[in-house]
Assembly symmetry: C3
Homo-oligomer: 278 residues x 3
């Protein structure tokens, strides 16, 4: 199948970047492409993938031959978010091990999110299917999101005993106002692509059958704009929010590291992993 | 009638809270409920009710058995806002009395609005009918608003010689952008529930016939989420805005205390009270 | 034709204000009116017009007989934005001349935008046709925008090697969220009046045939509100954003002055002026 073929090539990367299972990093003309490629696991993000995406965003900043950066995904899901098997070690119940794990995960997450804050090119997201957790929250730092009508957006933090990240506690109220931000981040309603469009989290929704063609056309169009202007103007638009985003990310990571050490979180994740095994 | 029956029980309250005419405070399972219950006066808010709502919000913060707080109202109106008969004393025209009244009202209002800023649980508003003035402006600090299609939203500050409060000069531009905020708060257009939904001031609108059932289902659903996560996540979402909200409230109260001592305000309120008597 | 008749009277102004070609400044009852009147050049804004609009906004602040300020335009276009023939001098290619020109234009622009930030009356925009560049970006500082369905909104900064101004890097993310702000200001999509309405940049859209009548009715209605309240409440709503707007304007002007001295900008403008001549 198409998915399997793609999965086999999952470590395609650029010179100077470490190959990462589940991630493709390529260049096509003026387009720097980062592709989630772990479709058999719904593109859940492993520690290596967090670092791989971060490194790719930094590499794109340094690359003068491309003018825009694109994040997309292979398979039916955009991304199931944080791979909760990352938390398996916590099952030991040993508070010292759990604390260590929380501290490591905090640093991993902080650097990952910072690489979106400090990105210098227009960042285009192509959301072809369901997006969950961190794969939704970082969208607030993108510049253009195209979604298929098969995409959904869900940030189930409270049910999993966790707290919002991806600088979403800053970006979501700015994008959609605090009431809608609470609807998503606090009481955790799942929304459709149409609703995400209405809420300003998505710029454009198309039928799934038209998704690939529309995506190619949009990305191509944006990539032909003068590259220096794109970079200067992206920096200008980020200027006002940069410090707030970095601070928010730091605060969110602190809160989340505490949550990861809480009983509510352990119980919720244990229940989730049990359900998943069945 | 239903309204009268409800009105007779209007001082239902919780142990430790002072009973207040026109206000019910109750607990149902994991839900802390505050209900405006002065339907014969369109739930206009008296000084005792301001303090009663504030005390209830503080009591809900301290209550560990409930996970969400709900504000709703009995009768056809959600609330006519500030009870303008509060200003009757000002009719004397004595600047000293008016100044005293303005200073008292300023403190009353400031503490009332602060109790929304510092609330620690998800705050759900059930707006079954027209909402006016302060009962609209504080909605910007809620986490989820369900409105009946019979609800309307009106903040007629300028026609009454007054100025926006409820931290709305901060929350409304964040929710709907400055142009729409000016449409409501500056040139004072009344909007429907559908428009309020479009503007992000309301999360969901349902037909009046489905209002009670939908409200019960929503509140019940949210109340079953892990309580500690709800509290941590509400605090996280409020974190970025807390200082701004407190400062905005203070500034708005200062400006409003000045307005209450202005000729424009006295003339407008005198005209309003005369119209109401007819 | 109507346009020509209007154009002949293009220097109508008020006592104390210097007449400016392409600009009318008048008072009608409680309405202070500023009208772009250079329809044969699509109301492109000349240096004199920048200063004339700034002076008119300041004069309206000082005028106690009017309660609202209206900006409208004659002809088919609202405004083509900055008159790019302003840049003809740059064609010399002499870096010293270009730098001087950039510094002068920076000061002109800064003072122009500041006069919107510090305006003290409700500012109503009547957008009867296409709006481009600076005539779009300043709309974020208005209080009510009525648009004809013939209006469009376009800010093609990157294609012209330029960067956003008009404090739009602050107001646009607040109005429509950062993703939609990037759609307009970074990748430069042109939008219809309906889309601008959806994005909160326009309060109301009407069919072109109803535009004049609706505009007259709206402006008349707002102008009858108590003038002191309007001024106090406008100041209150601006209070939270004033410093940010001034700082943003300063930063945007600095960045733009650099862009004006860049090769990308010179090539883009040279190409534009060549196309226009054909």
């Amino acid at each position: 199948s198409e998915d399997q073929k793609v999965a086999q090539s999952s470590s395609a990367t650029l010179e100077g970047l470490k190959p990462v299972q589940g991630l493709e990093v390529t260049k096509e003309g003026k387009i720097f492409k980062i592709t989630l490629n772990r479709p058999q696991k719904f593109n859940a993000i492993t520690p290596d993938m967090y670092n791989g995406i971060k490194d790719a965003l930094i590499a794109s900043n340094a690359d003068k031959t491309t003018s825009v950066t694109v994040l997309s995904a292979n398979g039916a899901y955009f991304s199931a978010g944080n791979d909760l098997t990352n938390f398996k070690k916590a099952a030991s119940g040993d508070p010292k091990i759990i604390k260590e794990m929380a501290e490591d995960a905090k640093i991993l997450l902080k650097n990952f999110v910072d690489s979106f804050v400090t990105h210098e090119k227009p960042l285009i997201g192509l959301i072809q299917g369901p997006a969950v957790g961190i794969s939704v929250t970082v969208l607030g730092m993108f510049d253009y999101i195209l979604a298929s009508d098969k995409a959904t957006f869900h940030t189930p933090f409270a049910p999993l005993g966790q707290s919002p990240e991806g600088a979403s506690s800053y970006t979501f109220p700015l994008i959609m106002g605090p009431l809608r931000a609470s609807e998503l981040l606090l009481v955790c309603k799942k929304i459709t692509a149409a609703k995400a469009h209405e809420y300003g989290l998505v710029n454009e929704v198309v039928a799934d059958s038209e998704f690939s063609a529309t995506a190619a056309k949009i990305v191509e169009g944006f990539s032909t704009l003068p590259p220096e202007s794109l970079r200067v103007n992206k920096t200008l638009l980020r200027h006002l929010h940069r410090e707030n985003l970095l601070k928010t990310n730091e605060h969110e990571c602190e809160v989340l590291a505490q949550r990861w050490q809480s009983k509510e979180c352990h119980q919720a994740i244990a229940a989730f992993l049990t359900r998943s095994k069945k």
